[in-house]
């Protein structure tokens, strides 16, 4: 009987697969990415290398010495003080303590400050508090400290915002009206994000992280790219990171373009050049995990997409490797065996510049 290896399903459950099953799943995941993105699959050597990483003995694995990469952090300090379903562990603490814990206790390479809601829109009414928090943190921090939040354009639609919900309009076949609502929301969001970051840059932020860009579809990305462009023009030395929400930009509007390229339907290797063109320093590509497929399938698929993005990009790529992305199981406390294997594969096979 063939040796069986303990691996995970996409939802984190432990299963046992032999090498043939692992290779079959890897190849199927790679083929899925290559087919969807119309990109090259991985070579047989690269596929074999991922299989070796999956089958390594030991609960945790690590990259080869000398291949380490910076690990950037999103969701601010919410993973410490958050307790509202955002993967936080609910430890009462100030945000400055949270930032310093990341720097001094965990060994983080960069950090970000953020608001408990973690969207830009609700930051506007409390901007003075955010500026104060940034200034206090920057007095004490050494590692790069950005301000981070989600563009989250859904907050601009009824009932949360001033513009009619394009989902409702679309269902009523009011397509032009839905598109117009998306365009107005995008303009408003761009304006808000620029205004917020103008204040935070004056209050000593190193820069900005636009986290989960595109979560509300192509309008969300359109808005973010325009905010990046304006901020780059105003702050030439600002650190700007754009992290995505998923591997494919959802076409809610369908017709929005940036620099002559339709945003809807873009895959990571097509997103990277646009993010760079807008003026970002760092791109965070994302590939979502399918909870019904194995870790092997998900990792093969994710590495294929990310490798193509790394190759297409002219700025550093820090792959998003959180809960339910980058091959990591969709589980609030993702098993460490899967996290470390996905991390190693992304560095050694996809060639990412950071995580």
């Amino acid at each position: 009987m063939a040796t069986e290896y303990s691996i995970r399903m996409g939802d984190g459950k432990r299963v046992y697969h032999d090498k043939k099953q692992i290779m079959d799943d890897l190849e199927a995941g790679i083929a899925d990415a290559a087919d969807l993105g119309e990109i090259s699959g991985l070579s047989s050597d690269e596929t074999e290398r991922i299989a070796e990483i999956i089958m390594l003995e030991g609960r945790m694995v690590g990259v080869e010495e000398g291949k380490e990469v910076p690990v950037t952090h999103d969701i601010s300090t919410l993973r410490i003080d958050g307790d509202q379903g955002n993967s936080g562990v609910g430890i009462p603490s100030s945000r400055m303590i949270g930032c310093m814990m990341h720097e001094r206790a965990f060994g983080a390479d960069t950090m970000e400050l953020g608001h408990i809601d973690y969207s830009y829109k609700p930051v506007k009414p409390v901007i003075a508090q955010e500026c104060q928090a940034m200034e206090v943190c920057q007095q004490n921090m050494i590692i790069p400290l950005l301000y981070g939040a989600m563009p989250n354009m859904g907050l601009y639609y009824t009932p949360d915002g001033p513009f009619e919900n394009p989902g409702d309009l679309m269902k009523a076949f009011k397509i032009a009206e839905a598109q117009e609502s998306i365009e107005k929301s995008a303009d408003h969001l761009t304006r808000d994000m620029i205004w917020i970051m103008q204040h935070l840059m004056r209050s000593a932020s190193d820069g900005v992280n636009f986290d989960t860009t595109g979560a509300a579809g192509d309008g969300d990305m359109y808005s973010t790219l325009h905010a990046v462009e304006a901020l780059r023009k105003e702050f030439p030395n600002m650190y700007i990171e754009v992290g995505m929400a998923g591997e494919c930009v959802l076409g809610m509007h369908g017709g929005l373009e940036y620099d002559g390229t339709t945003l809807a339907g873009l895959w990571p290797h097509q997103q990277a050049p646009l993010v760079s063109k807008a003026g970002a320093n760092l791109f965070g590509p994302v590939v979502n995990t399918n909870t019904s497929k194995s870790f092997s399938w998900n990792l093969g698929r994710a590495v294929t997409f990310i490798k193509a993005a790394v190759e297409a990009s002219d700025i550093p790529c820090h792959v998003d490797m959180g809960m339910g992305v980058g091959g990591i199981p969709m589980f609030e406390t993702p098993p460490i065996d899967a996290v470390s294997r996905a991390s190693k594969a992304m560095v050694e096979v996809a060639g990412v510049d950071g995580i």
Binding site: Q139, M201, L282, P316, V339
Partner: protein, 104 residues
């Protein structure tokens, strides 16, 4: 919490325990890809790129250059002071340092 710590242990450069913050700064400040950023920082520190993740190699260098160490070292530059030394070392301008200087 296990997830970010797992990444740092698996792949990370350990921040100010070693030289991860410096490499990350060059990625952000000059759009440098990983190998270029490591080479740039290693040349500035006069070490090999592999030393940038080596806590032993970096501890004394960080202390000597006053660019911040992770434990309590009396009289060693911390926070904004350490970043001002990083500005000089890497020949970059850091926004928080610039804003602080403008307030003096």
């Amino acid at each position: 919490m296990g997830m970010p710590i797992s990444h740092i242990m698996t792949s990370g450069m350990s921040g100010i325990r070693a030289a991860g913050d410096l490499v990350a700064r060059m990625q952000f400040a000059k759009n440098m890809r990983i190998d270029e950023a490591k080479k740039f920082v290693a040349d500035k520190l006069n070490v090999a790129p592999i030393d940038l993740s080596d806590e032993f190699a970096m501890r004394e260098i960080r202390e000597d250059l006053g660019i911040g160490v992770i434990t309590s070292v009396a009289e060693a530059p911390k926070g904004i002071a350490a970043k001002m030394n990083i500005e000089k070392l890497l020949d970059i301008e850091i926004n928080s340092c610039e804003r602080f200087r403008n307030q003096i």
